[in-house]
Symmetry: C2
Subunit: 760 residues, 2 copies
């Protein structure tokens, strides 16, 4: 299949590679606007309190102080773009009150002539709080009626869904397994801290904001609504970004709105840039969940019923909660064909830091519970866990019950066969019985994740393709690249469709003044949805190009092809013209034409195709220290069509490391609502030396709705890692770890319990 | 006609007005890029010399020195965009040698850490010159064969054109007048000096240049060719600009190419910013011309023959010479219907500073000669000069002999009738015979100028119209605004066509990475050509908008209209929907659509319509001091349709002041090739207190090919001023001034000659 492609499927170097490795790339913290002030936040020291008064007298007297805004003047943006669909719902996005709800919740912001003065001014603002009783535990939030974190109560969202008849399903089961799984409060922790923007509110009332949002167009709309401006009076420009993982999926709490108001008040551009500590304590995290899961299965290993009950800890503000819980159901539970499902999810507010979107959305949490459960079942039935999955997963031609859409591409079997082969799954367990303190074990998990949000959320993608007079091509898109390389993939798709060499195409950066509407970079969607837009815009440009070429070459458009920048008669390739030569004539040479070819596309992707993956890991558990080390990991993912295999290998490897981190080390620790590990010293993301051999495998299944058959991959790569590790740990030491992170302390504790149980 | 327009024809405030008056607008010299170096030029002290060696040893040892480039490494861009049409001609645009040709010609450029160091380093570069004999007078350039300023000789361009039979034409004449007129070397002298750019050559080989060019796309192509880059690897971003008048009509001599190479060498952004003195000595000027004109006329005042011979002094390098001389013929001579015309123009190189495009192109020079000549003829025949013009000008329905195109709109009669009325032309001359030293007189002239360059040069215009989900609109265009207000006019045109309020539309700034191909701002073309593109893109967006509206309202698209942002059934206006409500549904609400409406347009304007104007002036000449003061000036111009009357009044007033300046004070004075008046103290542009009452009159003739009937106006407003003043001076004191500028010294000298002649 690959052979007929010129650009797609190739490991071309990223469009921004040289710029990044040479340090030329400008990230938000590198930006500098003449006359710019610096902003700083005043953050609440209380987990829950009413702000009684804010006295800035001392701060105002500080030389260099320039402006202040407070939460009493400003709305907080606490929804997500689903709410933009109706005016009533839209109002729910904007919270206005004088209550702080977590330690670090912004109360006020100051702008001053330099950063030191801003920080000093912020420290001199005297806020009088009336502390309120706080709730830190989600079960407390459910039960206690005396403390209301939000006016409507402590329940952020509650949803139930039932398919089939669960009771009857369990009756049909030969074996029922019931467990509780608990997941941790993971932080995105990209190398570039979340939360830098420069807001420049000009005298004419136009606001320009440079910010590393994943959703330039939705951020534009949020900000316009929050500030009462028309959309086109807010310009969002996105610079290079040093990682996002969902953490920049909308406006940042306390950042852009505050900064814009400071700029409006000061009449100057204002930059605000969160410190690493502020990134950890003040921005969104993954939703921690407690998941009770009960699974019924026949002795042949066929699932008969699944009952799920989730309690999610939203923290102080709910942004993406609805979507995250929906994802637990759609791709989490939906991975398996089981006809009898009961799903009950509740999300509660607590006085912890806020949660939001995070790579995988709600899928990793549910997948940890469900895939651990499947491993338990396989062991109980004495069945190969791979076989158990193959018997039950929902595959090609089946109907997804949530979106009621057919599965059109399914590479899971190939993922499993290639991964078991590469991993050596057949000879598994041979080392498990090794003597000594260090025990080895193996485990695996599968996953399904959706591409984009077409049909579930407003999810447009658009592109413009402009051809220059030398045949070089500019792809104009608002697709934002946080480091995944999606601008490169989009350029490959457009180049392939148009028939130009990869080095002939450039891609714009998102700038809402000039780049067309895009739903943003989320849900593993850019290669698929952005890629479709790029492909269609290129096809539109190609049609217009061939019309000119046909006239020039005296042939029919239908007889023409384009390859590597040359348009030729397919039947007689010597009849040809270079795009550059043709365009020079059309734009410059023939003064009666002078037309630039502009191809456009805008719309929603036709589907939300699921992509599959399988993760196999080998761990070594030190039974004396409790330390777990991942020795070898094979991740095999079905991407439909690999537009740029190097990018995908990067995703698989990166997702694996993040998955290992979530399983073993990445967890925000709180004491009385205060985050204790707000630095990279205390919050451990894994380094290359912390992980063993990572083997990425790409499987191509051809998704018919996708550009050249492509679908997503980005998020899914981390989804199955934690359950595979937990199962491998069980395989090594015979204890089932049901709570993340799996720290050495928990391992030792579990081993102690196990020994105690055996001895008693 | 006006009544049915909502936005067009209104004096809306400029889109950039608040930004400019509050100081918020960023001009090129305000830009600042982190890590930016400063560049400075080493300029030749010789009018003509060979560069033997360049020794930078001392400069390189200066702390802070970072890079150097010399003319030996770099091509000079010395053509204009006509030459882009063929590869052979294109080569002529790029001159490579080691010869300097005027005092101030760049030899080398240095980049250093700050401006002081850059200037110091430049001063420490030791250039060894071999002085060559120089030519300063254009007649010397014609005659002397021993000195060759360019390899091909001293003739830059020579053209002859003949219509009818001139000899027979003169035979038919009852009266023949023959005179020589000489025009001066005027400088654009915008308030923001010409020549600031920041070049940023990134490590991946992409060059971004912020520069105030009038021609972003052609500058992109020039620079790409000069540096051997594909077009899309050169990004031109144009900031706000403080006036241009043709002085930024392409790359600036020694600026962008040098600066880009410095950036490439230094690996850093480099800013170069010419001083006021460098603006005067080192950038283009108006072509000074000597024009011999012979006119034959019947006793009824009908022109029978015109013979023109021009010698233009190109200076050291020829950029726009071909176009400037063509314009002398097309609109200059072409103003009158005379069937027997002989035109012979030669442009020669001299070792003076270079010339280029300047408001009016070649028209003001020829118009000064021809309109002075017409005044002489009217006096000789005892005829009202207005009547003489009415008898001979080429008007509605006639065929322009140069472009062989019909004149479709002609408001000259209305210009003349309104202007004579406002001026009080009928009672003219009553004050002329006043006693005392101060004599008053009146004079007038007419002019015709072309709009744009469609058919004469590659002259594309493009636009994109994007509608946001709240119904606000973004017009994306590369149309560059030097202060004329054309972005405002384009926004009015798009808003009118689309049916939205003016405050609902925004306009992008030119940025070749994202704005579509545009021929630039020249030839009074933006309201016409750019306006057509904006109108067509808006119409394309409107078509797409109405298709959605028709579905929603259950009507046919043909029944729908749009006004002030509301789409309604024309037959039943209560059936309606706001664009914002519809777009919110289409982009966000209906998740099966999620489409942004993007309207596009690209192409060339259908014509190059001429616009007419008449200028009437009253002067007071002090016969003791020679001082001339313009008391009252009426300028009436036929603009087709006035899109923004305030902008046009600004053009008429500004053109009048520049015309008075050209007539009386604005002239670069040279001694041995050195410009003596390189500051605003010595080069007198006129202030408000220097001019009398200026009365702008707008006449609307409806140009059928233009957007809402509009055509150009910008350049023409200065064209007829000088001959009207010269004629008024004659009217006042009886001496004919045939040489610009008309300084007090020249007046006194002429009066002396006159008295001497009378006394002898």
């Amino acid at each position: 299949m690959n052979d007929h492609f010129s650009v797609v499927g190739k490991k071309v170097a990223r469009i921004d590679a040289i710029d990044k490795v040479t340090g030329g790339a400008k990230y938000a913290p590198d930006l500098n606007i003449r006359g710019m002030l610096c902003g700083a936040l005043v953050r609440s020291p209380h987990p829950h309190a009413k702000v009684v008064s804010i006295d800035a007298t001392r701060a105002r007297s500080l030389p260099g102080f320039r402006a202040m805004v407070t939460i009493e003047e400003l709305p907080r943006v606490v929804g997500y773009w689903f709410l933009l669909r109706s005016e009533k719902k839209e109002k729910d996005m904007f919270l206005r009150d004088n209550v702080v709800r977590f330690i670090g919740d912004p109360v006020a912001a100051v702008a001053a002539e330099d950063e030191e003065t801003a920080l000093r001014a912020a420290s001199m603002i005297e806020v009088t709080y009336e502390p309120l009783p706080s709730i830190l535990d989600p079960y407390d939030a459910l039960e206690r009626k005396d403390v209301k974190i939000h006016e409507k109560g402590n329940t952020a969202f509650h949803v139930t869904k039932h398919f089939g008849n669960v009771e009857q399903g369990f009756k049909k089961a030969d074996h029922v397994v019931e467990n509780r799984f608990v997941t941790s409060k993971q932080k995105h922790a990209p190398l570039e801290p979340i939360g830098t923007c420069i807001a420049d509110y000009d005298a004419a009332g136009k606001l320009t904001v440079h910010t590393s949002t994943q959703l330039p167009n939705w951020s534009q709309i949020y900000l316009a609504r929050a500030l009462g401006l028309p959309n086109n009076k807010v310009r969002i420009i996105k610079p290079y970004t040093g990682g996002a993982f969902g953490g920049r999926c909308g406006l940042i709490h306390g950042l852009e709105v505050m900064c814009s108001c400071l700029s409006r008040k000061a009449g100057k551009p204002v930059r605000m840039s969160f410190s690493r500590s502020e990134d950890f304590i003040g921005t969104e995290t993954r939703h921690p969940m407690t998941i009770d899961i009960k699974t019924g299965v026949t002795k042949e290993g066929i699932l008969t019923a699944i009952s799920i009950k989730i309690l999610a800890n939203v923290g102080a503000y709910s942004t993406h909660t609805v979507g995250v819980l929906a994802d637990c159901l759609s791709t989490g539970v939906g991975l398996y064909r089981c006809g009898n499902v009961s799903f009950d999810a509740t999300a509660v507010y607590t006085n912890q830091s806020l949660t939001g979107a995070f790579r995988g959305y709600g899928n990793p949490q549910l997948n940890f519970a469900q895939e651990s459960q499947m491993d338990i079942i396989a062991r109980d039935l004495g069945m190969d866990p791979v076989e158990l999955r193959l018997k039950n997963y929902r595959g090609l031609g089946e109907i997804d019950p949530i979106f009621v859409d057919e599965i059109r591409s399914d590479g899971l079997r190939e993922c499993l066969s290639k991964a078991t082969e590469a991993f050596g799954w057949k000879g598994r367990g041979s080392k498990r019985r090794a003597e000594g303190a260090k025990k080895k074990g193996v485990g695996m998990a599968i996953m399904l994740h959706g591409t984009g949000a077409a049909g579930a959320l407003p999810d447009p993608a658009s592109a413009t393709v402009m051809i220059s007079s030398d045949g070089s091509v500019q792809l104009v898109t608002a697709a934002s690249d946080e480091g995944q390389g999606n601008r490169t993939a989009l350029a490959q798709i457009a180049a392939e469709e148009l028939g130009v060499r990869f080095d002939q195409i450039s891609v714009s950066m998102p700038d809402t003044d000039v780049t067309p509407l895009d739903g943003g970079t989320h849900g593993s969607r850019q290669t698929y949805a952005g890629g479709l837009a790029a492909k269609q815009a290129a096809a539109d440009a190609k049609r217009k190009l061939l019309a000119f070429a046909a006239k020039q070459l005296g042939t029919s458009e239908d007889d023409l092809g384009i390859k590597e920048g040359v348009i030729f008669n397919v039947g007689n390739p010597s009849v040809c013209v270079k795009i550059g030569d043709l365009m020079r004539r059309v734009q410059i040479g023939d003064m009666s034409i002078c037309q630039q070819i502009i191809g456009i596309s805008s719309g929603v992707a036709p589907a939300m195709p699921g992509y599959y993956g399988a993760t196999f890991v080998e761990v070594e558990v030190d039974t004396e220290t409790g330390e777990v080390r991942v020795g070898k990991l094979v991740g095999a993912f079905d991407v439909g069509k690999a537009i740029n295999p190097a990018n995908i290998e990067g995703q698989i490897t990166g997702g694996a490391v993040m998955g290992i981190g979530w399983a073993l080390t990445e967890e925000l620790l709180l004491s009385e609502g205060r985050i204790l590990n707000d630095s990279f010293r205390d919050y451990r993301i894994l380094r290359a030396c912390d992980v063993g051999e990572l083997i990425p495998i790409i499987v191509e299944s051809h998704e018919p709705t996708g550009p050249f058959g492509a679908k997503g991959v980005g998020e899914g790569t981390m989804v199955g890692v934690a359950p595979a590790i937990a199962s491998a740990i069980y395989d090594a030491i015979g204890v089932r770890m049901k709570e993340l992170c799996i720290t050495p302390e928990k391992i030792l504790e579990a081993l102690d319990r196990e020994r105690g149980a055996k001895n008693s």
